[in-house]
């Protein structure tokens, strides 16, 4: 069956008149270049530009015997859900991209995924870990693992590493990503340590800067570990205020810690803490190291997980396009790419091997990273499903 489809696609490609002259592949990026997390947008764009340069310098991607150069369109979603929607619509209807990469955070990826699915365009969200992003949406994929996986890993790690019996959680209730993750962590931790073992489950709202009341409750609750599934701009404030209020136990974070300029904002206060993530730059090998070296040479900084996942997401999309072939009819191509992506097996990404056995969510491993004394994110432990 697969072969027939492929043969048919090849036939379509051969039959399609070359009059289209479409020897470029247009891929859209829906990323936060401004707004709350501009560093995330910058990393995505850096990775994309690096890949584009590398591929185009080699003459382009070869599909069905023909070389296609890459053409990337960057749309700024301002880190807002509404703007992510309009960016997705613009990329699909105006720019006529064959597929999209992004948005990065779940707050934008969940609504943008709906648009992509409705307008039948493949979308790969590199960094969004909320289950709703891909749920019942055949056209939407992701390059990272799920919140539902990250929560249990963090709970497991807290138990194994700190022998924690009581945990506290502080999270932003108004944002999809931290909320989902906090609930998953709570469920997993209480499954291991019994009901009521999450002794403080405190919330705040986006843009809050003072967490003293919540942290006072957390310090008084006698928890052994604090789980903070927040972004890099909030983590420094939480960590510093927790220390000022007398918190002395470990703090555990999620993959959102690793993006952006966490250490620049947090300084010495974050050293010695752990977070669950997709990849660790320190201690990398093979293709991952190769990517890190190239990225460092181009931008004089270490790529964060957003950059690595964006790199994988683009390659994943290109693999899909390669397997599907290009006819020049955008609507047909989009559907073929979607079908090809669903069949991807053991895709060798720089953040680990990925397969898509059930819909848009890959099966892959998580890494626990320690922020060491030099402020580097060093590999600590790998946890596979």
């Amino acid at each position: 069956m697969k072969k027939i489809v492929l043969a048919a696609l090849c036939f379509l490609f051969l039959a399609a008149p070359a009059a289209f002259g479409a020897d470029t592949l247009k891929i859209g990026f829906n990323i936060p270049l401004t707004g709350d997390i501009p560093d995330v947008g910058e990393s995505s764009k850096n990775a994309a530009e690096l890949l584009k340069k590398q591929v185009n310098a080699a003459g382009g991607v070869e599909i069905g015997g023909k070389k296609y150069t890459l053409d990337f369109v960057y749309e700024d979603n301002e880190s807002k859900a509404e703007s992510a929607l309009s960016a997705a619509r613009k990329l699909i209807t105006q720019d006529k991209v064959i597929g999209m990469v992004g948005p990065q955070s779940s707050k934008q990826a969940v609504p943008a995924g709906e648009t992509a699915n409705e307008l039948k365009t493949p979308m790969i969200a590199p960094w969004s870990t909320n289950p709703n992003t891909t749920k019942n949406r055949p056209y939407v994929f992701r390059a990272c693992f799920l919140d539902t996986f990250q929560g249990p890993v963090a709970a497991m790690f807290a138990k194994q590493e700190f022998s924690a019996k009581k945990a506290a959680v502080l999270y932003d209730i108004a944002s999809d990503y931290p909320k989902g993750l906090a609930e998953d962590f709570k469920a997993a931790f209480e499954k291991i340590n019994g009901p009521g073992s999450v002794v403080a489950f405190e919330t705040f709202t986006t843009k809050d800067v003072d967490f003293s009341a919540q942290l006072t409750n957390i310090v008084k609750s006698g928890a052994d570990v604090l789980f903070v599934p927040q972004y890099y701009n909030e983590v420094p404030l939480i960590v510093k205020q927790a220390k000022a209020l007398g918190w002395k136990n470990p703090i555990l974070g999620s993959d959102s810690w690793g993006s952006g300029d966490l250490m620049g904002l947090c300084g010495d206060d974050c050293k010695g803490f752990f977070f669950v993530t997709h990849y660790a730059a320190a201690g990398a090998q093979g293709a991952t190291k190769d990517f890190i070296d190239k990225y460092q040479a181009a931008y004089t900084k270490t790529p964060d997980d957003v950059a690595a996942l964006t790199w994988d997401a683009i390659n994943l999309l290109l693999t899909g396009i390669k397997n599907a072939g290009v006819t020049g009819d955008v609507a047909k191509d989009r559907e073929a790419v979607k079908d090809a992506l669903q069949k991807v097996k053991d895709f060798d990404g720089i953040t680990g091997k990925m397969s898509f056995p059930s819909g848009g969510d890959p099966v892959k491993c998580a890494v626990v990273v320690k922020i060491d004394e030099q402020g580097k994110f060093s590999f600590f432990k790998s946890v596979c499903p």
Binding site: T205, D210, D261
Partner: protein
């Protein structure tokens, strides 16, 4: 009990910021009956001036050699930020508000102008320095004192002390000094005052200098307490501080001070005992109730409109 004392301290610190900003709203309103909606962004500018001052003095820009002790940097950063922010406040008054006042424009237009000035400051900052967060350097190491389960830092004590001293200072300036009397006089009757030979414009400029420099002071302390700066940091807090000033009785120094602490207390206490989503709901319901019982605010005085 320990939690309660801890939360009272937290509330005092958080309320201090509202109070310091509310004082600025109150001064300008008291003299000009102008709601200076750009005030929250002047506060933001104060924090940014402090950031640039501190990084410059620490030698991170390479102009002066590094090695100056943190306390000395702080001692210089505060006046630098206050002076630059005052200059900014006065510039706004000269460029935006005074021409309108001269032309006798309706107050509504001046208020809208103030709103626009705030947006210009926010987006100007965004355009000039980008959207990346700035990390305010640690100037004085934080020392945590633990007293029977209650944690206090040197910074927390300093913030609360500065807020109280600022209030006492402003109370004295407005109530006891000559220029303070002139401010009150303008507030009472803006048209009769020049006839008495009081230079109205000088007094108004002085008002903006006072308001802006206290916003800068709040900005420095805020940047030290919450060391992640972004261009929109002043918008929400400025807006809430304005509400605090109105509840306290806008135009009254005592009212602004009390209103700021009241809002800080309600916010912290609600979060301490309820889910945080209830914070603004309960906080503003209480403030609404106070206003409906006493429309002039806690310390406000009803004014008759002269026709």
């Amino acid at each position: 009990m320990e939690s309660l004392i801890q939360n009272i301290l937290n509330a005092l610190q958080w309320g201090s910021f509202y109070s310091l900003i509310a004082l600025g709203y109150c001064l300008v309103y008291g003299v000009l009956s102008l709601i200076n909606f750009a005030h929250g962004d002047i506060f933001m500018a104060g924090a940014y001036f402090a950031f640039f001052g501190a990084t410059f003095l620490l030698g991170k820009t390479g102009v002066i050699p590094p090695g100056m002790p943190g306390w000395a940097v702080l001692a210089l950063t505060i006046p630098i930020s206050m002076i630059l922010t005052s200059a900014l406040g006065v510039t706004l008054e000269r460029v935006a508000y005074r021409p309108l006042r001269r032309k006798g424009a309706h107050k509504l237009y001046v208020v809208i102008t103030a709103l626009m000035c705030g947006l210009v400051l926010e987006n100007g900052n965004l355009a000039l320095f980008g959207a990346s967060r700035k990390n305010f350097p640690t100037l004085v190491p934080q020392i945590v004192y633990s007293l029977g389960g209650v944690s206090v830092t040197n910074l927390k004590v300093a913030v609360i002390l500065v807020a109280v001293l600022s209030f006492l200072f402003l109370h004295y300036v407005v109530g006891k000094t000559k220029i303070g009397m002139a401010m009150q006089a303008i507030s009472y009757d803006r048209f009769a005052v020049p006839l008495m030979g009081i230079p109205t414009d000088t007094v108004i400029v002085f008002t903006f200098v006072l308001g802006s420099s206290f916003a800068a002071l709040a900005g420095v302390l805020f940047a030290m307490s919450y060391p992640v700066l972004d261009p929109f940091m002043g918008a929400l807090i400025g807006w809430k501080a304005f509400i605090a000033a109105v509840v306290g009785g806008i135009g009254s120094i005592r009212g602004a001070f009390a209103g700021g602490f009241l809002l800080g207390f309600v916010e912290i206490m609600v979060v301490a005992f309820f889910p945080s989503t209830f914070r603004d709901l309960i906080a503003f319901s209480i403030l609404l109730l106070i206003l409906s019982l006493k429309p002039t605010g806690l310390f406000g005085v009803a004014r008759r409109t002269k026709i």
